[in-house]
């Protein structure tokens, strides 16, 4: 496996952006930085978050800490490949999620075929080695816990931008604040969410979910961003469930892009025989 040179640029999110989130908003000089239409903002943010390179890999360490301070961890490898060859397309994708630890779930695999078409369910397969069992999960609900963490499947694989209507609520010095409302409110548990998108990098830095009573109950924060192989990449992020007081921190290591993952990996056949050379 080749080692890619990684130029790391820490944007210093914690130091500079986050405190400004709550800062009083100042009128923005529209001339100096033209504000793009909201569709473009959302589209670029979606690409930055989920479509860097044609494919990619990362080892993810999850630390789930509950309201009592008890924590448990998971270590897994995520492989991703875009269906379209066109680097500009933000279309269907495939994910291969391989579990390293805890030891009792070692070699467990999730395979996800993500469809961006509105209302179309993803395809998802599950391989449980100890049960020697491969199962397809029908009508896979995207907004369920990702292996017991506070992240949902959709937070890991990305939510289709067509699922919601978006409006630019305001523009601050550093962020576009976009409010997104679901087109099909019955299919999701939130009433709307707001996304702080960094104006320069288009990285969504904070996302807050609100319920029907207008109460915030869930909060995503990007904790660290590095530029890897030229792509700004969130390398640490957290999701808090305000209703349970639980919090999950994901740390991405061994991130690589454009590694040339073959399509064949993302099939049922590879569930039982993991592509070891791509998992390191």
């Amino acid at each position: 496996m080749k080692k890619l040179p990684t130029s790391v640029l820490v944007l210093g999110l914690m130091a500079s952006f986050l405190p400004s989130l709550g800062r009083a908003e100042e009128p923005v000089d529209e001339q100096a930085t033209p504000v793009p239409p909201v569709a473009e903002i959302v589209d670029r943010a979606n690409r930055v978050a989920y479509y860097q390179g044609k494919d990619g890999r990362a080892q993810v360490a999850m630390e789930i800490t509950d309201s009592q301070g008890r924590s448990r961890s998971r270590v897994l490898v995520i492989l991703r490949k875009d269906d379209s060859e066109d680097p500009e397309a933000a279309g269907d994708q495939k994910f291969y999620v391989y579990f390293l630890r805890p030891a009792d779930v070692n070699k467990m695999v999730f395979l996800v075929w993500k469809y961006v078409e509105r209302g179309k369910d993803d395809d998802r397969w599950l391989y449980l080695p100890a049960l020697d069992l491969v199962k397809r999960i029908a009508g896979a609900e995207k907004r369920t816990s990702f292996v017991g963490s506070d992240f949902f499947y959709e937070d890991v694989s990305g939510r289709g931008i067509e699922e919601d209507t978006h409006e630019l609520e305001r523009t601050t010095d550093d962020y576009y604040v976009v409010k997104s409302t679901p087109r099909d409110p019955g299919a999701v548990e939130f009433a709307y969410y707001t996304n702080w998108i960094h104006r320069e990098s288009f990285i969504p830095v904070r996302t807050e979910y609100f319920d029907k009573n207008g109460e915030k109950y869930r909060e995503y924060t990007a904790l660290g961003v590095e530029t890897i192989e030229g792509y700004p990449t969130v390398t640490r992020s957290s999701m808090k469930s305000l209703k349970t007081g639980s919090k999950t921190v994901m740390s991405y290591t061994k991130v690589a892009y454009d590694i040339g993952l073959p399509d064949g990996i993302f099939t049922e056949r590879y569930l039982r025989n993991p592509p070891r050379e791509y998992l390191r």
Binding site: D66, P102, A103, D104, V105, L128, K135, I137, G139, R143
Partner: protein, 965 residues
């Protein structure tokens, strides 16, 4: 009595001072309690009225079982729940029809939003905990969806449109062990929504909002709201009703009875004033000292009122019998008080001791109850002694016209005739009773003996049991809901069994040695170099790491680092293998993932369900089995625990892919070292819970759980059992203690142990009979019944004191019992009878109270008083006849024997009192205490013997003996 004379003298000289000081002091106490209650916050230094309806508070907050209960509730994120049951009896599909399920759905949506900001604390919410809400639309189902495919979805995604869809929901729910019998009834007629609350004190508000919503919904369904928090809140409401209805009713009845006996409105107002003042002062003091109004303390007024009236009735009764026309009022009052002061002092003191002894029971609300009634009795005594005389002399002369018993009633009006007739019949009845006890003393004593034998048999049949739900009367909505829901579901009384692995299975050294060996073993199979390096580290760090966890942390840190440095793919894989191995070591402690452990828990669950009391139990085992079944085939043959730990782990992680992954943590902790079984009991009877506890103890004794897993109960149903046990033992000792103290007081009062024993006989017989009746009637020995023993002790001895004191007064004049008894059965017996009737009936209004414990107390106190009155009037005179020689000794020799006997018995009683109290406070074992006590008794007996041989004593005895003869 010098003090008595001084007090009465003062009251007669300065009557106005007495009245004003009473009114003033009471008003000050009332204001101190009322002001902070009406204007909270204005008087930060004062306590306001606080109500406490939590049965948990029957035990002190630091009681181990409560501490454990709260810790486990926190650890397992368990909350008090309001249960909303929906029943449809008419529809062929029960609740599983589109309309009912539509309403259930709507109610659930409504319940989700039952949250509001905590008053005074913005951004802090209280209400229903949405994430833990259990309803058809908030729980998940996993099922087969074609070959090789499973689906996860909400049990009821949306209200079904067709009957078909509604039936399908029932079928799906019935397959899930966790839901069957909990969320839906097996017959399909009922569903339950469980609403966990942030805190139980908001349950009334939640229940009210639900009721409003239910009214809006319409439909033919029955709705039942229950759950412990609702019961508690309702209890608080009913408690105040009791105080608002029963206490005034008692006052009214006493008033009417007094009017009946004494006829003079202006006179009988005085005892009522004393009663009112005593109640107000005591309740104010309760509030001022920061005590809560609890189920027990709410009964204080109704207890103080009749007792406070008691002494005043004696005064009035005596005054009524002595006062003639225009006699000198002051002189009559002095005479009355001279006769009554000592017996009243002693009756008040014994009542005080009886109640104060409750302070020895290890149950805080009972302690408060006993102490404050004792206080109230003393307050009532004080004002009776000085206020009643002051009141009598302050009355204008005209007010006393026609007061007093007249033998020859001339002016006959219909009403008055009836009254005189009754009074007359009381006189005649008592005279006849007197004759009967004199002529047929043997028969009386024989009957008593037979009754006691029957009582002993009854007492042996007493069943100790309680159930806070049954504190409500059977027709109360709470009881109805309880009955209906238990009919449909597996049980509404929750109890929890915590299964825990002891903290340290191995110390670091032992673990390190084992780890080293396992590393060597694994190194033989793969990556020998890497595993050798790990062993090296283990040996180096074994001494430094505080615990096995830290050793593993350091080891994995090291392995991560090395893996990062790895130059080749093989090397990298080797380190990955090492990391996996270390993680597996870490998981060795996850006991509740081991199949053999889960199987053992499963067998325990089966045993639980065999008890007949446990409708159902749920645990992590059920989650594992259900998910496993639905992953494998969906067929019930696969509803089993998988046979490897990894399979369990993977089943559980699949479960956590759901919308409610946190549900798992209600049943097991994330370290998998503590698991909790949630039991649904069909009955909240302590006796049934105890049977379950015993069954589990016995079962686990025979087949202990693996890995040294220990078990411990929590949950309110269990806490009730604990406080009941403490109460029964505590009450018995409190009773024993106060019995002995009262006996010593009686011996002191009469300077004779024989007389002391005589004074104890009516109450002993009474208590034996009452408890015998409880056993015979099959009435559970519950909290109110337990408290009664000490209460009746303080009350029932009163009659004996009055009877004995008056007899001792009358006997020397009469010279023999034959001559004395007709006098004793005159005015003294009448005073006692009036008292029995006034006070006994005064407790009866408690029957009007909506809560069962109050009714029990009312009925039993009334029966105790009546039984004690009857026992006094029949047994004591019969004994006088039989024991006359010893009671009124005529020879010096007999007197001496009596003296020595008194001294000895008192010594033994004293030692016993000390022993009982020491036992209470220092929890000393009985064995060592008995030896010490025996020694003390012998020493004291010696002292008795020696002191009685002193010449002075002998001379005095001799003289006394001669006087008598």
């Amino acid at each position: 009595m010098k003090i008595g004379d001084a007090m009465v003298g003062f009251a007669l000289r300065r009557p106005k001072t007495v009245v004003w000081s009473m009114a003033g002091s009471t008003l000050i106490l009332l204001l101190l309690a009322l002001l902070p209650t009406l204007w909270p916050g204005t008087f930060p230094f004062l306590h306001s009225l606080r109500v406490d309806t939590d049965p948990e508070n029957m035990l002190p907050a630091d009681e181990p079982v409560r501490v454990f209960h709260n810790r486990m509730k926190g650890e397992m994120a368990l909350h008090e729940m309001v249960v909303l049951g929906v029943v449809n009896r008419d529809d062929p599909d029960g609740v599983f029809n589109p309309e009912t399920l539509g309403r259930v759905f709507e109610l659930t949506e409504f319940a989700r939003g039952l949250r509001w900001e905590r008053s005074g604390r913005p951004a802090e919410y209280e209400g229903v905990i949405e994430v833990d809400l259990i309803a058809p639309s908030t729980v998940e189902r996993i099922e087969q969806a074609g070959p090789g495919t499973v689906s996860f979805k909400w049990l009821m995604e949306e209200p079904p449109a067709t009957r078909e869809a509604a039936r399908e929901i029932r079928a799906a729910a019935a397959r899930i062990p966790f839901l069957q019998g909990t969320l839906l009834s097996e017959n399909g007629r009922a569903v339950a929504i469980y609403l966990p609350l942030t805190s139980k004190d908001i349950s009334y508000r939640v229940a009210e909002r639900l009721r409003e919503k239910i009214r809006e919904l319409g439909g033919d369904e029955e709705y039942h709201i229950t759950g412990l928090p609702v019961a508690q809140d309702t209890f608080g409401v009913e408690m105040f009703k009791q105080m608002a209805i029963a206490a005034p009713a008692a006052m009214l009845i006493i008033f009417l009875l007094l009017l009946f006996f004494f006829r003079k409105l202006t006179m009988i107002v005085s005892p009522l004033i004393v009663a009112l003042v005593a109640v107000i002062a005591t309740m104010s003091l309760l509030v001022i000292t920061g005590r809560t109004v609890h189920i027990m303390s709410s009964m204080i007024p109704i207890f103080i009122m009749p007792i406070a009236v008691l002494d005043a009735v004696h005064i009035l009764s005596d005054f009524f019998d002595r006062y003639r026309g225009n006699a000198d009022r002051e002189k009559t009052v002095r005479e009355v008080m001279a006769t009554l002061f000592t017996p009243m002092l002693y009756t008040s003191l014994t009542t005080t001791v009886g109640f104060a002894s409750l302070a020895l029971a290890p149950i805080p609300p009972v302690q408060v109850f006993g102490l404050y009634i004792a206080l109230g009795v003393l307050i009532a005594w004080l004002w009776t002694i000085i206020f009643i005389p002051a009141y009598i002399v302050l009355l204008p002369a005209a007010a006393l016209e026609n007061f007093g018993r007249r033998r020859k009633e001339k002016r006959v009006s219909a009403g008055r005739l009836r009254r005189s007739l009754s009074a007359f019949s009381l006189v005649r009845f008592l005279a006849a009773a007197g004759r009967f006890t004199y002529r047929r003393s043997g028969i009386v004593l024989l009957l008593v003996g037979l009754a006691l034998a029957g009582a002993a048999w009854g007492i042996s049949r007493i069943v100790i049991n309680d159930n806070p739900t049954k504190w409500f009367s059977p027709s109360h909505p709470i009881r109805v809901a309880d009955r209906v829901l238990n009919e449909h579901f597996a049980g509404t009384y929750p109890a929890y069994l915590a299964l825990t692995v002891p903290e340290a299975e191995e110390d670091t050294e032992t673990f390190a040695a084992g780890l080293s060996a396992r590393l060597e073993e694994r190194g033989k199979e793969t990556a020998p170099e890497v595993f050798a390096r790990l062993r090296d580290r283990v040996d180096r760090w074994a001494g430094e790491a505080a615990d096995p966890g830290e050793l593993l942390d350091r080891l994995s840190g090291y392995a991560e680092e090395e893996a990062g440095r790895a130059a080749t793919f093989t090397e990298m894989e080797d380190w990955d293998e090492a990391l996996l191995f270390i993680d597996r070591e870490r998981q060795r402690g996850e006991v509740f993932k081991r199949p053999e452990v889960l199987s053992a828990v499963e067998r325990l669950q089966e045993r639980l369900e065999e008890t007949g009391v446990v409708g159902k139990s749920s645990g992590v085992t059920d989650i594992v089995k259900t998910v496993y079944r639905d992953l494998i085939s969906g067929a019930d043959r696969d509803l089993v625990i998988p046979d490897t730990g990894d399979a369990v782990g993977q089943t559980l992680i699949t479960f956590q892919n759901s919308r409610r992954p946190h549900d798992l943590w209600h049943f097991v902790t994330p370290d998998y070292r503590t698991a909790v079984l949630w039991l649904q009991l069909k009955s909240g009877d302590n006796r049934d819970m105890e049977a379950v506890v015993q069954a589990v103890d016995e079962y686990l004794e025979d087949s202990p759980l693996p890995a040294g897993i220990g078990h411990r109960w929590f949950g309110l149903t269990y806490i009730n059992v604990v406080w009941q046990k403490k109460m029964v033992a505590g009450m018995l000792q409190a009773f024993l203690g106060s019995f002995l103290i009262v006996f010593l007081m009686m011996t002191l009062l009469y300077r004779s142990a024989l007389w002391g024993m005589l004074a104890m006989i009516p109450l002993t017989v009474t208590i034996a009979l009452i408890y015998g009746m409880i056993g015979l009637l099959g009435k559970d020995y519950d909290m109110p019944v337990a408290v009664l023993s000490s209460l009746s002790l303080g009350l029932a001895v009163d009659y004996a004191i009055h009877f004995l004191s008056r007899t001792r007064e009358i006997y020397p004049g009469a010279g023999s019992w034959k001559a004395a008894f007709p006098v004793v059965f005159g005015e003294p017996a009448r005073a006692i009878s009036r008292n029995v009737i006034v006070v006994g009936l005064g407790f009866l209004p408690l029957v009007l109270a909506p809560l069962v414990p109050y009714q029990t107390v009312g009925i039993f106190i009334a029966s105790i008083l009546i039984a004690a009155g009857v026992a006094t009037i029949f047994i004591l005179p019969a004994l006088f006849k039989v024991l006359e020689k010893f009671l009124f000794p005529r020879t010096a020799h007999r007197a001496l024997i009596c003296r020595r006997g008194t001294c000895l018995v008192s010594a033994a009683a004293l030692v016993a009192v000390v022993a009982v109290n020491l036992k209470q406070f220092f929890a000393i074992g009985w064995t060592s205490l008995s030896w010490w006590s025996l020694g003390a008794v012998i020493v004291l007996a010696g002292a008795c013997f020696l002191s009685s041989r002193r010449d002075r004593c002998r001379a005095w005895m001799g003289r006394r003996g001669e006087d008598k003869s």
